[in-house]
């Protein structure tokens, strides 16, 4: 490919950050020094270089971490290294919220102002920052700040910058922020329990607020299965994991063989925990049976649903379990390569999982004989860079391949044509976390927990107006009311519960007496989604919550298809008109318009993001009676 690159050069810092990901360049043809004797009469690159396209996002992430933004010189260097046209790479870089297209301060505080955090003081944090640290960087925020005022508007002497962020998956410790500091040794930390003082100090000074993760609400409860080791067994030690029963399931799976494992998973009636509830056994069997090779295993750890943080808790607290489960999956579906697609906002999970992978590799538990003699399996972590839509399974593939994280049309389905258009098993973290137990105790025993159509236990992320927010593990069939009681929801004054997150639905506070099962939720006309349970009391401004949900979808739409790209904008505009009491026509006209918009998004959008972008709005209007008396 004949690349047209500008003359801009990377800084030494940027060059070494990219080389740390890609290795040193081999010649002038891929960005190295020109040595006439070597590079003068032959060309290197071409197909071999383009085959490394999948390293584009890791390289861009490295640039961001080193310099705090994607500079022209850095972009050109990455393009030369990977033979990617600059326009193409620019399209990828501008797709992700954590990659900055313009210079930003090296130290950045990404302040969550999403649903759970804004009901627990995030807006006070934002106000304090606006007052004492200057306006937000970049695109402005809900408060209407325009772009371009960031760098110039910052107070002199301020060391860092800040911006608003969508949900960071720390809803149990709301309000939360992600602190990133670019440089040779980049720092990143998720901070919970953020006070306005902390936030201002973190932006204007060098203070890094650090609070330990809270204990699991149910820690030590012998009934725990998925969470049994979290907080109890050292997540940094392979020996501790093995001492706590780890790797027995893999040994059993090797003895049983792939067909028997698939039989047990089918018998367990395990369904996907990422929100779509697809039978896991059918998926595994379909991938195993595909003739095209190679096969891939992907763990979808792009948990970005507002209100969801269970996968983070599993990754931070029991990372070896995921490594073991993925190795079993590799053995069963005939894959030698696994990827964990981990959301960019989870640095501690990345560190702990990276350590687990390294230890497993050193012990031979990943590598040439990981899944039995001559049954190779290894795992690579791929970190996202701030894009909710990348949790959609086909967007995961595009993101890993170095393309914009736009979902693909289905069919073909991932089991036939997934990552690199090869048969791919993609499962959510929690789904995989169930596998070792199914292998060990058998599918039928597993299915004895829960109900007929919803087997096993489920992790619920309870946040908002409860005394003890956190991840709770309960058997399917527990009622929503019982779960809320477990988390200390107010006995009175519970106004509404959001089930399933931004893509989920509201129920009224007095409608919580139904079983949390897929069939129970269906009967109640709601969705469990990935297990988000957000409680709102009488003090919550639900209109504000709804406006935030609408803004979230408008921000996070990939922009590919018209129903979602424009529908999310029109939905947000109509809600703002209603909220301001200035409807076009009457409130009834606006509500009818919202319904029309929602129907088109549901029917005609490419992926689940657009198809669910109106769920919360519709349920708030129907179940909660929002805007019933006109505006409120």
């Amino acid at each position: 490919m004949d690349l047209r690159l500008s003359d801009a050069q990377p800084t030494a810092e940027e060059r070494s950050a990219v080389d740390a990901v890609l290795g040193a360049p081999a010649s002038a043809w891929d960005g190295g020094e020109r040595v006439a004797a070597r590079d003068g009469h032959v060309a290197f690159g071409g197909g071999a270089a383009r085959a490394r396209r999948h390293l584009l996002l890791p390289a861009l992430n490295a640039l961001q971490a080193a310099a705090g933004w994607i500079s022209e010189g850095g972009l050109m260097y990455v393009c030369a290294r990977l033979t990617v046209p600059p326009a193409d790479a620019w399209g990828v870089a501008t797709f992700y919220g954590l990659l900055a297209a313009d210079p930003r301060p090296r130290r950045m505080l990404h302040v969550c102002d999403d649903i759970a955090c804004r009901t627990r003081g995030a807006l006070a944090v934002v106000e304090a920052l606006e007052r004492e640290a200057g306006p937000a960087e970049g695109h402005g925020g809900g408060s209407g700040g325009g772009h371009g005022e960031g760098a110039s508007g910052r107070r002199s002497g301020a060391r860092g910058g800040w911006m608003r962020s969508p949900c960071l998956g720390l809803c149990d410790q709301a309000p939360a922020a992600l602190l990133t500091e670019a440089g040779e040794r980049p720092q990143e930390r998720l901070i919970g329990g953020l006070t306005p003082t902390d936030a201002v100090a973190a932006v204007t000074g060098t203070v890094t607020p650090d609070r330990p993760r809270p204990k699991l609400p149910q820690q030590g409860d012998p009934a725990l299965r998925l969470l049994a080791r979290v907080g109890v067994v050292d997540p940094a030690s392979l020996a501790a994991y093995e001492g706590a029963g780890g790797y027995r399931a893999l040994a059993a799976a090797v003895r049983m063989g792939p067909e028997a494992v698939i039989r047990e998973i089918a018998a367990s009636r395990l369904v996907g925990r990422g929100g779509a509830a697809f039978p896991a056994g059918r998926k595994w069997e379909a991938v195993a049976g595909q003739r095209a090779r190679p096969h891939y295993v992907i763990c979808n750890a792009d948990e970005s649903e507002p209100g969801s943080f269970k996968d983070r808790v599993l990754l931070e607290g029991d990372p070896f379990a995921l490594v073991e489960a993925m190795t079993i999956a590799g053995l069963v579906v005939g894959a030698e390569t696994g990827f964990v697609y981990l959301r960019g906002e989870y640095p501690l999970a990345a560190e702990r999982l990276g350590n687990a992978i390294a230890q497993a590799r050193a012990a031979g538990r990943l590598g040439p004989d990981a899944a039995g003699p001559d049954r190779a399996f290894d795992i690579e972590i791929r970190r996202g860079a701030g894009a909710y839509v990348c949790g959609e399974e086909t967007a995961v593939f595009n993101s890993i391949e170095g393309l914009r994280g736009e979902p693909r049309n289905k069919p073909p389905f991932p089991v036939e044509a997934g990552l690199f258009r090869r048969p791919t098993l993609i499962n959510n973290v929690e789904t995989l976390a169930n596998v070792p137990r199914i292998v060990l105790e058998g599918g039928e025993a597993f299915a004895r927990t829960g109900t007929g159509d919803s087997t096993g236990t489920k992790l619920f992320c309870v946040s908002g107006a409860v005394a003890q927010p956190g991840v709770y593990e309960v058997p399917f069939g527990t009622t929503l009311a019982a779960l809320l009681a477990l988390a200390g929801a107010p006995a009175r004054g519970l106004r509404a519960v959001l089930l399933g997150g931004a893509a989920g639905m509201f129920v009224r506070g007095d409608e919580t007496d139904f079983p949390l099962t897929f069939e129970g939720a269906r009967a109640a006309g709601v969705t469990l989604g990935a297990g988000v349970v957000m409680a709102f009391d009488e003090r919550t401004d639900l209109t504000d919550v709804l406006l935030r949900i609408a803004a979230f979808f408008r921000d996070e739409s990939c922009g590919q298809c018209v129903p979602c790209r424009v529908g999310t904008v029109r939905q947000e505009e109509a809600l703002h008109r209603l909220a301001a009491g200035r409807p076009l026509g009457s409130a009834a006209t606006e509500l009818a318009l919202l319904e029309e918009i929602g129907t088109a998004m549901k029917d005609a959008s490419i992926c689940g993001l657009g198809q669910t972008a109106a769920f919360a709005v519709e349920s708030a209007i129907k179940h909660l009676g929002l805007f019933a008396g006109g505006a409120r």
């Binding site: 046209p85 695109h139 922009g559 018209v562």
Partner: protein, 311 residues
């Protein structure tokens, strides 16, 4: 899962009528074979379908959501409905969404469809003020400014004129991806443009939004040829339109062969008042598929220099 048996043809039903199409055909092919006029915007015979505009959606029995006719392969026994209330609703909304956010004044057939589906783009409120030059190119993924009270967001912005050959009026861009495909892997392999940004802020862009002369653009104009809305337009055409002098009743098209090289691409010269105003090439040509290079597309000014023969 075993590979399906190779089939010479696929039998399915479109609005109840039996249709047979060759294996590998799409639902759109089947609908056309059944005489249904399905609107399309992002679809073109010579490009890979991106099925992004969703105006061609149809109802497929057994499918929870509507499916894009342009890309879904026809399969035996499919029951396709092209004119149900659900289909009409989604098409109406897609067209309304586009008409309320994009200038569709030079998009062929769109006015007819807006009328046929009963679209009322004005019901989303008055249009917000157009963006300043470069403003939309600077938008970043993440939080956006709250909507302007009472006004509807649009992609309206000044036209980009940075070379003598063609203009880019992204206020008319529906983000169909066709120009990106034509510039990239489907035709030209130049990759001067891509989709940048996200969501409603997504746009067609060069790297860092540099002007075309600083980009990889080779001025083949194959992007202009596939643009369904007139967002990409010959400067010669745009200048006439801006002057109010564009008059299709005074135009005719002359077919000829490009004189420059041995490939011999067919040229269709659109002529007004004895001056060439636009050059295209037929899509159904088995060699060029509607593509030209800078010479065939833009190298015709000499034709008009006939009077300088004596100089």
């Amino acid at each position: 899962m075993t590979a399906p048996e190779p089939q010479a043809s696929v039998a399915l039903r479109v609005d109840g009528a039996a249709v047979e199409v060759p294996a590998g055909a799409t639902i759109l092919d089947a609908c056309r074979a059944a005489g249904r006029d399905i609107p399309t915007l992002c679809f073109l015979e010579t490009l890979h379908p991106v099925n992004a505009c969703r105006v061609c959606v149809v109802e497929l029995e057994g499918s929870r959501v509507l499916v894009p006719a342009c890309s879904r392969a026809a399969a035996p026994g499919m029951q396709v409905r092209t004119d149900t209330p659900r289909v009409r609703h989604s098409r109406k909304m897609v067209l309304e969404f586009l008409a309320s956010s994009v200038d569709l004044s030079t998009a062929p057939r769109v006015a007819e469809w807006l009328d046929a589906y009963g679209c009322r783009p004005e019901r989303y409120g008055p249009a917000a003020p157009a963006a300043a030059a470069g403003e939309r190119d600077a938008l970043t993924a993440g939080h956006h400014a709250a909507p302007a009270q009472g006004a509807r967001a649009t992609v309206h912005q000044p036209v980009k004129v940075d070379n003598d050959l063609y203009v880019r009026d992204y206020g008319k861009c529906i983000l169909c991806y066709k120009c990106v495909e034509a510039c990239g892997p489907d035709h030209q392999n130049t990759f001067a443009i891509a989709v940048a940004g996200r969501g409603f802020d997504a746009r067609i862009s060069t790297e860092r939004a540099v002007p075309l002369p600083d980009s990889a653009c080779v001025y083949c104009g194959n992007c202009i040829a596939v643009c369904p809305t007139g967002a990409l337009m010959f400067k010669s055409e745009r200048d006439l339109r801006d002057a109010g002098a564009w008059d299709e009743s005074r135009q005719h098209v002359t077919d000829t062969i490009c004189p420059y090289c041995g490939v011999g691409c067919t040229l269709e010269l659109r002529v007004q008042d004895n001056a060439v105003v636009r050059v295209t090439s037929p899509l159904d040509h088995s060699i060029s598929h509607g593509n030209l290079c800078i010479k065939g597309r833009f190298g015709w000014r000499f034709v008009e220099n006939r009077r300088r023969g004596g100089d």
